[in-house]
Amino acid sequence: MQNLFNLGLVISVLITSLLVVLISIFLLYFSAPLIFGGEFKEFFTLEWDPLNSFYGLMPMVIGTASIASLATLFAIVSSFSFAVLILMFLPKSIASFLEKFLYFLSGVPTVLYAFVALFLLIPFANDVLDGKGLSILSASFVLSFVIFPTISIFLLNSFKQVAKKSLFAAKSLGATKEDLFFNLILKSSKKGVLSAIIFGFARAVGDTMVALMIAGNSLKIPNSLLDSARTLTAHIALINANDYESTAFKALFLSGLLLFLFSFVTVAILRILTRSKSV
């Protein structure tokens, strides 16, 4: 009986831990012909036009980078506000409710944010911005709502760790709430803040629905925040599954591979950051 259980354990662990490897293998398998086909550099050119044999992924890379960065920027301000106020300035009952509210928000599906934005924000944006409602700016704004709860929770937990240990001592020395935040918590949470930002940025990069529905999906390289853009994730979602053998289709796997590599780097960086957190 125990042996059966042991076997079950081992099989489970083997299967689940190797999934990542399996995923990377499949991504590589499908994009290998592109990588080793001699024209690899082509995929980093600036134009995607399969009908004319242009397979540059750069417009999408730029799209992802700009939307994710701007969204993270927007989200940082609101996340910080929530984290600080919940930790220190709001009455306990309100703070406790808000914390739970944050956890709830982090589970709201992103497609809902995109859907509401489409009917509430975009018509308004189109009015104000002369028809440029579906753009990097709008998408970043909506995306910031999606990643905001995650960053807030991360920040809040980082701050709490410091507060737990030293709040009493600092207060006994006459620190006001502002002092406590700026001179104690912020000062000793630098790694936590950085981790939260990286974590939020990674989530923004990985989001599909908001970019797909709000950013416009144009293939041109965006020149300004009001231009329409396409992200790597939306690019994959817009699969035109007519020809599984085509280069265009395989290039989607290259996009997937890029995203996978990005995740890998992010996780590695976060591990290093949180590991070397002293005390």
Binding site: V162, S166, A169, K171, L173, G174, A175, N183
Partner: protein, 224 residues
């Protein structure tokens, strides 16, 4: 002999448990007032009432009056509003029984209270050196001022948090077992230092060393 704090009929309870009952005490300026009694009887809690850090404990309830003579005016600190407390705690500084270091370097630990009062780092350096010398710590750590404070030994940490309070030159110093981790020689030196210090600062201290109390206290409150 003028009083600086008058405690009138102070009661403290934690939820349903009564910790302090009917405490009356006059604390005189530039005196060393000692508080003694068996463990768990509420000595530390009494100190925490004096700097109102007792409010950090949700279930703690105080009644009575604790009058503090601040620049000629008598005010009941039990009735202080939340925003008046940081200023109070810069005048009445508490040194905990267990070293509660801030997650910074030795220097930053000592500088923290001064920074709150707007004192620049350069001016602070001499004040910090003075405080470290008073607690007989300077020679031991002068070369690692910017090292992590948590690397110090127990006795060194205890002297560090004492220095952290001394550097603020408070009106009243609340000491909770300040020499419990120190050997006889160091304890004696600190006791002598406290006697000299009372000229500038009023001291209220908890001690479970009878000899210490006999040696340096001007008055004693026994909570038994």
């Amino acid at each position: 002999m003028s009083e600086i704090i008058k405690i009138k009929n102070l009661n403290l309870s934690y939820g349903k448990k009564e910790v302090l009952k009917g405490i009356n005490l006059n604390i005189f300026k530039n005196h060393i007032t000692a508080i003694s009694g068996p463990s768990g009887i509420g000595k530390s809690s009494l100190l925490l009432v004096l700097n109102q850090m007792i409010r950090e404990f949700e279930r703690a309830k105080c009644s009575g009056e604790v009058l503090f003579n601040e620049d000629g005016e008598w005010r009941d600190i039990l009735k202080f509003k939340e925003k008046e407390l940081p200023a109070l705690r810069k005048n009445i500084v508490y040194v905990s029984q267990h070293p509660d270091l801030l997650p910074f370097s030795i220097f930053e630990n000592l500088y923290f209270g001064l920074k709150l009062q707007g004192i620049k780092k350069d001016s602070a350096k001499s004040m910090i050196k003075e405080a470290l010398e008073k607690t007989f710590l300077y020679e031991e750590i002068k070369d690692r001022l910017h090292g992590d404070a948590s690397m110090l030994s127990g006795g060194q940490q205890q002297r560090l948090i004492l220095a952290r309070a001394l550097v603020l030159k408070p009106k009243i110093l609340l000491l909770d077992e300040p020499t419990s981790s120190l050997n006889e020689e160091l304890s004696s030196k600190v006791e002598d230092m406290l006697v000299k210090l009372k000229r500038e600062t009023t001291i209220v201290m908890i001690s479970h060393f009878k000899s210490q109390i006999l040696k340096i206290a001007d008055s004693v409150l026994n909570l038994a």
